[in-house]
């Protein structure tokens, strides 16, 4: 599998470590009133989609950046790769 790194071009998936669903970027508020339930959900529960999903890959053997990769879990086709940093900044800018 080749991951189209936004800065480095196509890189072998073996250079990366896998974390999982990109929803992990949305860490709940640890001081919020519903924190225990929110963290149970965050740490343990997964959508585990069969189809296109966005997920976090870490370029451990490369430039050590986190990527958000859009990938089809039924075919292993990779549709898009973005810097996780850009994804989070864009979300903040949109006020979410």
């Amino acid at each position: 599998m080749l991951i189209p790194h936004p800065l480095l071009g196509p890189r072998d998936a073996g250079e990366f470590t896998y974390l999982g669903d990109a929803r992990l970027l949305e860490r709940p508020d640890g001081l919020g009133p519903d924190a225990p339930a929110a963290f149970h959900d965050y740490v343990y529960l997964r959508d585990n989609i069969a189809g296109v999903q966005r997920e976090l890959w870490f370029h451990e053997q490369g430039d050590r950046s986190w990527l958000v990769v859009t990938r089809d879990t039924l075919t292993h086709e990779i549709l898009k790769a973005e810097l996780a940093r850009d994804v989070v900044l864009a979300r903040k800018e949109a006020g979410k």
């Binding site: 740490v43 343990y44 997964r46 585990n48 997920e55 990938r71």
Partner: protein
């Protein structure tokens, strides 16, 4: 139709004209007391024990494809009860005792072969850990023997004992562990369930649940609606897909797991040998092929196939452990979808929907559990109480902080 030596002889001299299909192919009825979803080993075993042990007369089992098309027909057939934690080990030992009587019980040769499993030791720390594990096994009623280097040598002289990084210093042996013919297990449970009155309905995909006021009423399927008093789901790699139809998110991620087999060779490997440090395990099938495997794919997948990096990693492990494997030719490689749970241990429990029960999270190791999983799930479905060996396998254990994490790696499904 019962199998016996006499029957085989009689058919041999009368031209094999008396054999009949092993199970019926019935049309679904409008409703059943209990509907099991998934015709893998666990679903079939559940249906079998529901009818045979728990006296349930109106049971149906619905399978999307054909029986045994999932992981029950794709695994490396290892059966063992060498776990450490009290939430797991008594359950797996219960399963081992069921394996020991299984073929007589369902009257089919499943080629259960107790040829032993040997976990190799390379360091003092590993020996301590395995000594502790062996003691935990013995406490649960299982068998375990700690071997030194010479005893391992006597069993498997072909291993590379002096590998610079992982020299072999001993091993933990469970003599009662071994292998079983995976397809035979599926067929035996299917035939036994059918004989006991269960309707096994193939090519019948469950596409949704009818839930009214928090209670399940039946299932929507590709062959129409089927009413049900209770529904038990045992769909392994498809767990999240199916349970999402009841609005549930599970502590499970699906990952690919590969296995490999070589051409047939003369008998060479005495039992099952695992090289945990090198992510490799191997046994020899009765046909002579070396059956081996290693780690799961690191990334999520529903593709029922794996990638080359894992193949490379597995054969490197094989070459490091037993260099002679380099002379064998690889015949086939295949993959299945493993339902990796967040602590690597299974779930057999009720769900927040009344009448809906879930069995899954078997990760890469549910074949050995097949008889006990079926027995315990049937116990839960029939009596609404957990079997005593499956009490810890609760769905809400993550929320309560009672995870059963054999490997101690936390909520990382790809690392268990």
């Amino acid at each position: 139709m019962r199998f016996s030596g006499f029957r085989v002889f009689k058919e041999a001299v009368t031209g094999h004209k008396g054999w009949k299909p092993l199970w019926r192919n019935p049309e679904p009825k409008p409703a059943y007391d209990i509907v099991i979803v998934g015709g893998g080993g666990h679903g079939l075993a559940t249906a079998y024990y529901l009818a045979k042990v728990f006296g349930q007369a109106r049971v149906a089992l619905l399978e999307r494809g054909w029986l045994g098309s999932g992981n029950v027909g794709r695994n490396t057939t290892i059966i063992r009860s060498n776990y450490l934690l009290p939430g797991n080990q008594p359950f797996y030992e219960f399963s081992m005792t069921l394996w020991e009587g299984l073929e007589q019980d369902f009257n089919l040769n499943a080629m259960v072969s107790q040829r032993g499993i040997l976990n190799l030791i390379h360091t003092d720390a590993q020996r301590d850990a395995y000594r502790r594990r062996g003691n935990a096994m013995i406490l649960s009623g299982a068998d375990a023997v700690l071997l030194n280097r010479d005893q391992v040598w006597a069993m498997a002289p072909f291993l590379n004992f002096d590998n610079a990084r992982f020299p072999i210093k001993g091993g933990l042996l469970q003599p009662r562990a071994g292998t079983a013919r995976h397809d035979g297990v599926a067929w035996g449970f299917a035939r036994g369930a059918d004989l006991a009155g269960v309707d096994i309905i193939q090519n019948c995909e469950v596409t949704g649940f009818r839930i009214e006021e928090g209670r399940v009423k039946g299932v929507e399927t590709s062959r129409g609606y089927i009413g049900a008093g209770k529904v038990g789901v045992a769909v392994a790699g498809s767990s999240s897909r199916v349970m999402s139809k009841a609005g549930m998110r599970l502590p499970i991620e699906s990952h690919g797991l590969q296995a490999f087999v070589t051409e047939g060779l003369k008998p060479t490997i005495p039992g099952v040998i695992t090289f945990g440090a090198g992510h490799f395990y191997v046994s020899q099938s009765d046909k002579g092929g070396l059956v081996f495997g290693g780690d799961i794919e690191t990334y999520k997948s529903y593709a029922q196939r794996g990638g080359l990096p894992v193949l490379e990693d597995v054969v490197e492990g094989g070459m490091a452990l037993m260099p002679m494997i380099g002379r064998a030719r690889l015949l086939r490689a295949w993959g299945g979808v493993a339902d990796m749970s967040m602590d690597g241990s299974p779930i057999i429990d009720r769900t927040p929907v009344d009448g809906l029960y879930f069995n899954g999270g078997w990760s890469y190791g549910g074949f050995k559990a097949t008889p006990a999983s079926g027995y315990c799930f049937a116990h839960l479905l029939a009596t609404d109480t957990p079997h005593e060996t499956a009490k810890a396998m609760r769905l809400d254990r993550f929320e309560r902080g009672y995870v059963i994490d054999e490997k101690g790696v936390g909520a990382s499904p790809n690392l268990h």
